[in-house]
Symmetry: C2
Subunit: 262 residues, 2 copies
């Protein structure tokens, strides 16, 4: 087992940071590693915003589903699905006129652009996570950054085709800090050979049994089992509904329609 | 510079594989590393299908925008955004009845579920990429797996809430093989401090100049510059339109609507 596999195997989310700033040298290693990540057609359809400002982190700790530890991370990195630069490049080079002359449509960034950009942004983020881990810096992803699109757009001056899809809180490990890796689902329910294997009813029970064991009889949701609890505090929670609304708004913008008709 | 940063820095896409199978031990390291990746709420809303079957790889080499090297990769990994298991768990545990009793809606997986699952699948994929690289196995992402959703659904027996969002071709490096890392955009156009910086017109020219230098005067698109060429062979190409269509169909399914009303 080499040290890369070892680091990947031991990494857990860190929400509790040593009280010191991240050095410029270390931050640079993290950023450079992110920028080396694979990206479709070498397009790099993402941007990264480095946030150290305490006021901004404080705001994010509220807009991202009230998670106070965000404000305490020395550095927060925002990963943005970003086609604005490519659109600006196209417009500057008269791609619209070229399309008209050649009987083609000049279209807005589309659902495909949004998905590819989201994927590339997260691939870059995971490079950042592993690079950080290798130099003693822990991290925690904040998916809640996809909520409140309009607020985040205004805070960060985002143009039309820039959507924050991921956020990383970064900080050095507190001295002596370690957490055991979290239990994952059994591999046989995640990894299949050649074709998808729909998990059978009795296997669903086995797959989720470590969660079912966490069920608390007296709960505020009036739930009779862990699945009902989980649905209530996660899938159907207010923050999930807000994330749905926010993403729907973004999909409405990235619609691949003709630029000239809007 | 540690060896992790070194490996991240040197990694390029590999489309040319040594003619030998990947050992079970190595494949296991790659899969285990993927499964250790961070995942929102520890939900692991993804599945991984291991493909070694030559016929399947041959089909994928056509459905993924005609890329013959896919058929030659010893192993292909399919990363699937997957909420089916969670939905099955909810249904088995009578979450719908619970919702009716408590005056709540029982909803289908939504846009937020789709984005979170897509992100987690790609975060896991990038762990696989780095783990593979560390044991001499190169990789290439195939985003084109998001095209032809219905065909891939049928090939892999995918249930309703399972969408292939990423694919990795894997294989050992051919002996003596090395490629220089590809040129990336200048960091100042990708990384910003505190707020987004819209790239100014003259900077767009600078940002893209290494691409503009690749312009070929006589081209089949009748393009007058590289931006017009790029729009033609990439953003507005047939495969991009197919990816749009395919993803729109998936978004139509993952719509967060009430399960009982459909």
């Amino acid at each position: 087992m080499n040290n890369i596999i070892d680091i990947i195997g031991k990494r857990t989310s860190l929400r509790n940071y040593a009280d010191k700033t991240i050095t410029d040298e270390h931050l640079d290693i993290i950023i450079e590693s992110a920028m080396r990540a694979p990206t479709a057609g070498n397009m790099m359809p993402y941007s990264i915003i480095i946030i150290r400002d305490n006021k901004t982190k404080e705001i994010l700790s509220h807009t991202c589903d009230e998670q106070p530890f965000i404000a305490k991370a020395p550095v927060v990195l925002l990963f943005i699905a970003d086609y604005q630069k490519w659109m600006d490049y196209y417009v500057l080079n008269k791609v619209e006129e070229f399309c008209v002359e050649n009987g083609r449509e000049f279209t807005r960034p589309s659902e495909a652009s949004l998905f590819l950009a989201t994927e590339d942004a997260l691939i870059a983020a995971q490079n950042a996570v592993i690079a950080a881990e290798s130099i003693g810096i822990g991290s925690c992803y904040i998916g809640d950054i996809m909520e409140h699109y309009e607020k985040h757009r205004d805070i960060f001056d985002l143009p039309e085709f820039a959507f924050p899809v991921g956020m990383l809180c970064l900080g050095y490990y507190p001295e002596g800090y370690s957490l055991p890796p979290r239990e994952r689902f059994n591999k046989k329910y995640i990894v299949f050979n050649e074709k998808y294997q729909r998990v059978a009813e009795e296997d669903i029970k086995d797959m989720f049994k470590h969660l079912d064991n966490k069920f608390v009889d007296t709960n505020k949701y009036n739930a009779k089992n862990y699945a009902q609890m989980h649905y209530s505090f996660k899938t159907n929670a207010d923050f999930s509904k807000e994330m749905d609304r926010s993403i729907r708004e973004v999909i409405r913008i990235w619609n691949g329609k003709n630029m000239t008709s809007i």
